[in-house]
């Protein structure tokens, strides 16, 4: 008995000291029951960890910022961080663990489409909610996912007309890595190229992760194209730009216009190989607003790396937590389906500008931008859409703003066939 009393005394003394020393510590321990738990599931290890760690960091940064201003519904948000290990199967297991065991109302997760497809059944079957921050190929209409990255029409509908009209390029060579995202992007590209009076001379693919570009670049050289549209992903990007320059091609005459090449890839290849090429994304680190500059500074301080770069998926990882917070506040409870219903139509001033969740398909209104890469590894923004545009995940199959395929009722498969 004596020992118990002594330990209670000790514990209370400790927690008193903790309260004095740091209010954060106090919240974590004494109010453990009064927190909202959320899942944060990205690859902390493996080949994709280089990018996915930065998404996890951005998510955690948003959570700590929300907690610093009092949390949501008067409760602190407690992230439960899991490691997807760059493996879709592990993603599935960890998502199940978060949803079933930890009973979180929402998970912020996934970078690749492969990992999203792997966790999707978990969220649909358990009526839970996933916030997905990456630009992706569209062709999905889940009622259990909030998509805050760009879909093809938000990367291409300004890009292709701009290439044809402003750059004056007419003959496209479409090149990509051989999997679903580049192939869906190529479909949208072709539709837009033909609509705008251009033509495509080739549509070629290289194995995902392959970095032997000799033959492909030679083909580009002899194809007679005047612009290359690249949907290449991963470290293949680096080898591609290097080979491009080394075979004597220049972005001044034959520019690479890319949909995946972000600040991370540019830093990895060495900016000198990308100078003069273009990328289309809703967010670039170089966006010249106070909101974005402060965001970059806060992120660098948060990860304790003064040279850290920010990019589109990272920015989406950050602002989607705030959209989630607003939805929780509106719903008045932290349960998946009420949050889902409340997030529809939520608006937020993100570092890239104004964003809004489309009530019909749970995708996000974003502002497309085009940047030209500079010698310092930053994109100089040379074209910005006047306003955020509507997300159309089925644009490759003829979806338009007036004729939505994916609505609150789900996917209209009849339209898909027709």
């Amino acid at each position: 008995m004596n020992t118990t009393r002594r330990s209670i005394l000790k514990a209370s003394a400790l927690s008193a000291a903790g309260t004095l020393a740091s209010p954060y510590f106090f919240h974590r321990t004494a109010q453990a029951a009064d927190v909202i738990k959320v899942g944060v599931l990205f690859s902390q290890t493996g080949g994709l960890s280089i990018i996915e760690k930065s998404l996890a960091d951005a998510t955690l940064m948003a959570i700590s910022e929300i907690n610093a201003t009092g949390g949501v519904l008067g409760k602190q948000i407690q992230p439960i961080v899991e490691d997807g290990a760059s493996d879709p199967k592990t993603f599935n297991e960890k998502a199940s663990k978060l949803v079933i065991q930890d009973k979180v109302p929402t998970v912020f997760a996934c970078y690749t489409s492969a990992s999203r497809k792997a966790v999707l059944p978990v969220f649909e079957r358990r009526a839970n909610l996933l916030f997905y921050p990456t630009y992706y190929e569209g062709f999905e209409c889940s009622k259990n996912v909030v998509y805050t990255g760009a879909v093809p029409n938000q990367q291409l509908s300004n890009f292709i007309p701009w290439i044809i009209k402003t750059l004056g390029k007419k003959k496209f060579f479409i090149v990509g890595s051989n999997y679903i995202y580049p192939r869906e992007m190529a479909k949208v590209c072709k539709v837009l190229i033909e609509q705008n009076g251009g033509q495509w001379v080739a549509d070629e693919y290289l194995e995902l992760g392959d970095s032997e570009w000799g033959s492909m670049v030679n083909k580009i050289k002899s194809s007679g194209c005047d612009v290359v549209l690249s949907n290449v992903v991963g470290d293949s990007v680096v080898a591609f730009y290097r080979e491009f320059k080394n075979q004597g091609l220049s972005h001044a005459k034959l520019p690479i216009c890319a949909t995946v090449t972000s600040e991370i890839e540019i830093a990895a290849m060495g900016p000198e190989y990308a100078v003069g090429s273009f990328t289309s994304f809703p967010y670039f680190m170089a966006i010249d607003t106070d909101a974005n500059k402060q965001f970059v500074e806060r992120y660098r301080a948060f990860v304790k790396n003064p040279k850290a770069v920010t990019h589109h998926a990272l920015e989406s990882s950050y602002f989607q937590v705030f959209l989630w917070k607003q939805a929780v506040a509106k719903a008045g409870e932290a349960m998946p389906i009420p949050i889902r219903n409340a997030v529809m139509g939520q608006e937020f001033n993100a570092p890239n500008g104004h964003v809004k969740i489309e009530p019909a398909n749970l995708h996000t209104w974003l502002t497309p931008r085009i940047a030209e890469w500079q010698a310092d590894g930053q994109g100089k923004i040379i074209d910005t859409y006047p306003a955020p545009i509507m997300p159309l995940p089925y644009v490759a199959y003829g979806e338009t703003e007036k004729n939505l395929f994916c609505t609150g009722k789900g996917l209209d498969t009849a339209k898909l066939k027709g």
Binding site: I50, E212, K245, G248
Partner: protein, 297 residues
């Protein structure tokens, strides 16, 4: 057409560069060295680190990478492989373990990242190597535009292959190596220090992998997993060429590289890759010992 041949030649030289070291450790010594790819990766990291810390360019990094990876190879032979000669499958498992150790050592910055210390150039991130201006862009040879860096790789490969041939067939050290390949016990009986020759041969093969790494760093990203796919290609070349035959390795690298280059230009890269595998399977089925079989050990 000349451009396609050049690309094929360049693909061949890259294959040969990785396979040359394997031709020695696997072909001549009978060790399935799964850590070969990691030695290539180590060579690439030597280039990155010597660029950051010593301000050496990629050419100056070649001898340095050779020495560093040769030393690593020497240690692997002394500590692990030495105990496993003649046990082919055991060498596979043991060197695979070594491969994982080397990968993680780079990823965890030799364990320093646990203590919050970081070495610029190591860690999980992607690294890149600056190629000197003279080796970037294209040069014109006989009316054909060729990639300067690829031409440089072909040159380095030719020099290394010639050096390896001299070492193996025109030096007393090479005579000892070939004697051990034929019959280690008899070689020992003739007064050859088998242990010492084996250790040096393994170190030489590893050093070649390091040089391959330097060349790779010039046109690929450098990261801890980069070596793994390369070692697969290396084994394909050695197995198709015939274990233990330097000439077989050279010819099979040339053949597979050209097939890859020509099929890729006529159809596409994905089909070309499948074609290379099909040809290798065909060779192994028709000639199980490779194009140039060689009896040893």
């Amino acid at each position: 057409m000349a451009e396609i041949i050049f690309i094929g030649l360049s693909l061949s030289s890259i294959l040969l560069l990785v396979a040359l070291g394997l031709a020695i450790t696997y072909g001549a010594m009978g060790v399935i060295n799964m850590a070969h790819g990691e030695l290539v990766m180590a060579g690439a990291y030597v280039t990155v680190l010597s660029g950051i810390w010593l301000h050496l360019n990629i050419i100056a990094a070649i001898p340095l990478a050779f020495l560093v990876t040769a030393l690593i190879g020497y240690l692997i032979e002394r500590l692990v492989v030495r105990r496993l000669y003649g046990r082919l499958l055991d060498t596979l498992l043991a060197t695979w373990g070594v491969a994982i150790l080397i990968q993680q050592a780079v990823r965890l910055e030799f364990g320093l990242s646990f203590f919050g210390r970081h070495i610029a150039g190591l860690g999980v991130g992607l690294q890149n190597v600056t190629v000197p201006e003279a080796l970037t862009g294209a040069i014109t040879i006989g009316g054909v535009q060729v990639n300067a860096f690829r031409a440089f790789i072909i040159g380095v490969t030719v020099v290394l292959t010639f050096a390896t041939w001299l070492l193996m067939y025109r030096s007393s050290f090479g005579v000892q190596v070939r004697a051990i390949m034929r019959n280690p016990n008899m070689a020992a009986a003739c007064g050859i220090n088998v242990q010492r020759v084996n250790a040096l041969t393994f170190a030489y093969g590893s050093g070649l992998a390091g040089v391959a790494g330097v060349m790779m760093s010039g046109f690929k990203t450098v990261f801890p997993d980069m070596g793994t796919p390369m070692v697969v290609d290396g084994f394909l070349v050695v197995a198709a060429g015939g274990v233990g035959s330097l000439l077989g390795t050279i010819l099979s690298a040339g053949l597979l590289g050209q097939i890859n280059g020509i099929v890729a230009s006529v159809t596409n890269d994905i089909l070309a890759r499948a074609m290379v595998f099909a040809v290798v399977i065909l060779i192994i089925v028709l000639k199980p010992r490779g194009l140039f079989s060689y009896r040893g050990r």
